[in-house]
Amino acid sequence: MKEMKKVEIVIDSLHIHRVVEILESNGVSGYTIIKDAQGKGERGIMAGDELTDVFKNSYIFTVCNVEKAIKIAEAIKPLLKKVGGICIISDVLWVSH
């Protein structure tokens, strides 16, 4: 089992493709997306009940090594600053296959 980092991001659904671009440009081996998430934060409630995706969040996480995790964190900060959302990093053991 390899020691890796899990990077989790929550952002409004309209901007999820931006996050994917950042992950891919940092050469992660993969990622998992859960498209429909609700939530609340600085920008208020995202109830996901609109006809538009403006008030809907998406959740995405990737498992990668610490170097990539840091690079991703740096790359994603300005995006979060501009459009909102959160990014957290934690330790995981990857059951390599």
């Binding site: 429909d36 208020g44 538009t52 403006v54 501009k82």
Partner: protein
Amino acid sequence: MDTLLQNILNPPILMFFMGLIASLLKTDLEFPQPLPKLFSLYLLISIGLQGGYKLSHSGLDINAVKVLSLAVFMATLVPLYTFFILRRKMDIYNAVAIAATYGSISAVTFVTAVSFLETIKEGFGGYMVAAMTLMESPAIVVGLILLRIFRDRNNDNGINWGEVLKEAFLNPSVFILLGTLIIGFVVGEKGWESVKPLFGDLFRGFLALFLLDMGIVAGRRFWDIKNMGFFLIAFAILIPLTNAFISIGLAKLFGFSKGDALLYSVLCASASYIAVPAAMRLSVPEANPSIYVTMSLAITFPFNIIVGIPLYYHIINILWG
């Protein structure tokens, strides 16, 4: 007064009230996604096919061209003049977003007006759907040009114009309307008849379902209204009225038919709550969506379908004599 009642006492409008009450009473009544998406896609496809089919009969004569040009004219004028009004009261970002919202249109408001005309047996041109389609995008472009011009240079965190223009001209609503207009135009009688049971006969029923959901969603935003300040509330009612009056004037001047005049005024008076918010969220994230969506969804939309439509029609009746 009678037309007002006639407008209110039909299932779709009453369903809207029912939805409104449902969420004001905090019942758990809701249409979970993607049901609202299904209803709105259905309405867009249905209105597009019907419009195209009607167009294939009426054809694109000089009169149609006139209407379409005036449609684009208002869709460009409204975001411009409203922007300068808004700018006095708020930062450029929200000013742009709100201006674009009111410059564009609401398909469901249009659809409600169409079924109002059908109820009172008043005809209208097949090109009106084309007019609606043309009116969706300009406001977005105008808004972003204004943003580019007036934003202080030093923080130009560049707009991705490619993405934005795609959002403006290739957003699902515009694309479906355009596509189904063409399809409706080419398939002719036989083709239309084959899908009419779904896209024609069920139209009113689906409109009722959709308005029920609209009522629920509008109700959820109801309490945000009072946090919004007098100016924005007034704006959300007076600007639609102004746009309606201007457009009725133009319609009279250029000799529109009654039905065309109503639909034209309704388009100008309506505000977008799907296409534009999505585009604004992407290109002007600094603006606060819960302001411009609440204004168009919880104030302008109900105002138009309940008071606006019969009111505009009443005025038209008087002017056209």
